[in-house]
């Protein structure tokens, strides 16, 4: 029998419908892979095997009757940021110790309503703050990719490192993830997987643990462009419980796949060619331009003069919003409590022990930039710069550009506990230099695997689209996938 865990979601959907195998067999195959690999890769923080089998059996009953939703019987992993009823939901933080929500997030509710099966909760950077999955209370996730001839452990990127690693190592068919500054696209690029952050307002934020509310968006990580389109179609919805959820019907994203890109205008912003960027990243970008040109797209140079200010503005806006959102963790209503001599000391002790170093750093930055006398100099200025960043994009769309092509990351995956990156917090932040502009402007962005570097590690290209035009990203993304092929790490684990 074929290895069921090697299937794409699109293939499994057909196989289940044709009764070539059952969802229980499929689910068991993934549980087997998780049991074999998780001790080494640490992608899951909780495995819900019993629940998964029950959900699979329910799906099989529906499939037997020729019924079932768009994801009927498809086993998925869920990032620990999504509230899942009665199941571990801690944003991989110690401060949410023991938290099991009595409710379900809208995004996961949508997935279960469409028949998906939950395998468990995936590791991530604490409160989604990080670019290497090393800030998790549950320890780092290991990338299934290694450099050729090396056994050094590499990071899968972050914050959705567990999601990316689990997909790449065939520990789920696809995974939910979230992206505040690049947390879907950077891990996807580091693991040879596809990740899309949709337009702000496309997926409901209800039941997703908040980091920076004006930037956070949920999206999928999967093996192929088509699989990510299938998942996004189910995850996205119009939700009255989220006031920023936008009243636009969710289109059939799969319909865009396979459509010609003839005549589409693809913008190339020179400002994404950063000083000190490895030559390989630039070469990959040029290759992507050639592929799209060969497919009939028109390549145009565009100017994005405020690109380099996106990351500094982000490091004001995101910590400011985080410092407000994380004020709720006070040791009173849920999670960890560390006693003190009075209530204030209880708060201070709880938050000192419950939050990790990176989270504390961002809360302090956020508190400082919002404090009396500094608000205008930092927060207000950053919000004005954000207007200029968005205007750069608006001008491109006004000039008829359909999508923008850039590299996804300034490097391939790096080592766990990298001394240089940990010596200065800003160095780690630079990972998001190509992805963060998209969050600042609320736009959709997809990372598609496009090649391997000379040490054999995957690299991705990013496509940025107009608001609510995810369809064009899937359309163009498929052209890159067809030209580049797919990438599978050599198995050394499990």
């Amino acid at each position: 029998m074929t290895d069921l865990t090697k299937l794409t979601i699109a293939e499994a959907r057909e196989g289940l419908k044709n009764k070539d195998y059952t969802s229980l067999e499929l689910t068991d195959a993934f549980i087997g892979n998780i049991e074999a690999a998780n001790a080494q890769l640490n992608a899951y923080v909780t495995v819900t095997a019993d629940q998964a089998r029950e959900m699979a059996k329910a799906s099989d009953a529906k499939l037997a009757k020729g019924e079932g939703g768009a994801l009927e019987g498809i086993p998925l992993g869920i990032k620990d940021l999504f509230a899942t009823k009665g199941v571990h939901t801690q944003a991989c933080s110690h401060i949410l110790d023991g938290f099991k929500p009595p409710y379900e997030s809208t995004v996961t509710s949508n997935l279960w309503a469409d028949g998906a099966v939950m395998l468990g909760k995936l590791n991530m950077d604490e409160f989604a703050m990080g670019s290497s999955n090393e800030t998790s209370y549950y320890g780092p996730v290991i990338n299934p990719w290694r450099k050729q001839g090396s056994n050094q452990d590499l990071v899968p990127g972050g914050s959705s490192g567990g999601s990316a690693s689990a997909v790449a190592a065939r520990m789920c068919m696809g995974a939910t993830a979230t992206d505040t500054g690049g947390s879907i696209r950077q891990p996807a690029a580091f693991t040879g997987t596809v990740g899309i952050k949709p337009t702000y307002g496309r997926c409901s934020r209800w039941g997703v643990v908040a980091f920076a509310s004006s930037l956070d968006q949920a999206g999928p990580i999967a093996h192929t462009v088509r699989d990510s389109a299938i998942l996004l179609k189910s995850m996205a919805s119009v939700d009255p419980k989220d006031t920023t959820s936008v009243d636009i019907e969710v289109p059939d994203y799969e319909a865009a796949i396979g459509k010609s890109v003839m005549g589409l205008k693809i913008g190339i912003p020179a400002e994404y060619r950063m000083e000190g960027m490895p030559g390989e990243i630039d070469e990959l970008w040029q290759k992507g331009i050639e592929w799209l040109k060969d497919a009939g797209a028109e390549i145009v140079d565009i100017a994005m003069p405020h690109t380099k200010y996106a990351l500094p503005a982000y490091y004001i806006v995101a910590p400011a919003e985080a410092s407000s959102n994380l004020a709720r963790y006070d040791g009173v209503r849920y999670g960890l409590r560390v006693p003190g001599k009075d209530i204030v000391e209880m708060y201070e002790n709880t938050r000192a022990e419950g939050f990790g170093e990176e989270v504390k750093r961002r809360i302090l930055i956020g508190t400082y930039v919002l404090s009396a006398g500094y608000y205008d100099a930092y927060y207000l200025k950053a919000q004005k710069v954000r207007t200029l960043i968005k205007r750069d994009f608006d001008l491109a769309w006004e000039n008829g550009v359909d999508a923008i092509l850039t590299p996804a990351t300034p490097s391939a995956a790096f080592g766990v506990a990298d001394q240089d990156l940990h010596s200065d917090p800003v160095k780690m932040y630079l990972n998001d230099i190509f992805t963060v502009t998209v969050n600042m402007a609320g736009l959709p962005g997809i990372s598609v695997p496009a090649g391997l570097d000379k040490s054999g590690l995957p690299l991705g290209l990013q496509l940025i689209g107009k608001p609510f035009d995810e369809s064009t990203l899937f359309q163009v993304g498929q052209v890159i996938e067809d030209a580049a092929g797919s990438f599978e790490p050599e198995k050394w684990w499990g």
Binding site: S214, T243, G331, Y347, E348, R351, P425
Partner: protein, 95 residues
């Protein structure tokens, strides 16, 4: 702009996070690295630019002012570190 150790302690107090003297010293350096980085924004001319308050041009949706949920005191207090009769228990705050 940069911060000194006393400012870090004051901000930590505002954020209700206990920091030791050693923590405060270490954090001062880290926070100054970040503040130094965000200072790049000083190069940008923002005269006459409106701050971005929403990335999507949409009027805030309003819901009907009605009761849609409730009677879930068990659910609400079930994750509390200390609760009694559907109240959250905290250290004494009034003498």
């Amino acid at each position: 702009m940069s911060v000194d150790t006393d400012t870090v302690k004051r901000v930590a107090r505002l954020a209700r996070i206990k920091v030791s003297d050693d923590d405060a010293t270490r954090m001062t350096g880290e926070l100054n690295a970040i503040l130094g980085f965000v200072e790049h924004l000083d190069e940008v001319n923002i005269d006459g630019v409106e701050p971005l308050t929403s990335v999507v041009e949409q009027t805030m949706k309003k819901r009907v002012d009605g009761v849609t949920d409730g009677s879930k005191a068990d659910d609400i207090t079930q994750n509390a570190p200390a609760s009694e009769d559907h109240f959250f228990m905290v250290p004494k705050v009034v003498e």
